[in-house]
Symmetry: C2
């Protein structure tokens, strides 16, 4: 027991295989790939007619978050013994230094990640398409995914608090991973949800006015 | 240990005070009060001008679900030792026969109930007002609360499944409480969310058309 970098050290992980890549390699690969996706979507979206800069930025975000949900969170959800794998594509081996509930297979964490990978991931990619082709469901879809992300974050942070709030290897991992990495999924969904809420209210207001004319 | 009606019998509940009311009395009080709320809101909403029958039914539902969230789920969330109380207004003493995670203070269950009592409860009551006064945010608000209720149900059922799916005193309590009582909060939010989604898409479609004219 304890032959792993996670907290608590008493956490029993039979068959644990240590990370083969350094932190820099793991984060570099993730951030590098993400940057590639962001730039690619930005350039491609420039070819769509009549899209504002905000729409194009939103397409970049939805592509990035959708792929993260599906490719990073998906394998974790469906591989309960991922910490015994030599395959380096389990980002959560590294992330668990910031929240050992991943490697400990905490029920609430797995549930939130499951909903994220299975529902919010594909819905995020659908949002990229919806914005590009100016679908009338674009705003309500974005609002729905944002609300799901916010609900997921509230469950994620509240269960951590109720379960003792002590799952990180050091204050660095608390701030960089547990708080830092997740904060984008609080701030950005709040901004997008607010924008879509306003846009929807304006459209409903307009259609009510037409009706009562 | 085991001097309580919940499963597993090994669940330790120090200071447990048995229910003083019969099942019939508890359910009768809840259903009777709910019926009173439904009828009262139906009658009062008849005095609002230009409300359709559907709008009035929705007001009844939002008043009922909002009061349930706040008055039934609220006290449970903020009274961790509710099972030691003689005060009979803890519905969850009875409901725990269908899901002992309530009385066992399971983290995910308390978290979902907390979000429900604190956010969805007041938002549901706001929906009653929004429908009555035909606010432009009425549809997006109803959609948001429905989505929260559905997300909560997914977390609730998935965590039960992952944690062993064995928290009910008998098949009767499984079907009547765990499945039956919760099914309204799956079916009705699905219907309302679909309705609001369609209404919002129609309004956005209309406003896009006006813009491009």
């Amino acid at each position: 027991m304890g032959a792993h970098p996670y907290v608590p050290a008493s956490l029993d992980l039979p068959g644990y295989v240590p990370l083969r890549l350094t932190q820099l390699e793991i984060l570099g690969a993730y951030l590098g790939t993400s940057l590639f996706v962001l730039v690619a979507v930005w350039l491609l979206s420039g070819r769509c007619r009549r899209l504002s800069g905000t729409d194009r930025l939103l397409m970049c975000w939805w592509a990035f978050t959708g792929l993260t949900h599906i490719l990073i969170e998906g394998p974790f959800v469906f591989t309960p013994d991922f910490f015994t794998k030599t395959n380096p594509n389990f980002f959560e081996k590294e992330y668990s230094k910031g929240d050992s509930r991943y490697v400990a297979r905490d029920t609430a964490t797995v549930t939130v990640e499951g909903i994220t990978a299975v529902l919010k991931g594909p819905a995020s990619l659908l949002a990229v398409y919806a914005i590009a082709s100016r679908k009338s469901y674009s705003h309500i879809l974005q609002f729905a995914v944002c609300l799901g992300q916010l609900y997921g974050c509230i469950v994620y942070f509240t269960t951590a608090y109720l379960d003792g709030f002590n799952f990180w290897a050091s204050p660095f991992y608390f701030w960089a991973y547990f708080i830092g990495a997740n904060s984008s999924w609080v701030v950005i969904p709040l901004l997008i949800a607010t924008r879509s809420w306003k846009r929807i209210c304006a459209a409903i207001h307009q259609s009510e006015k037409i009706k009562t004319k």
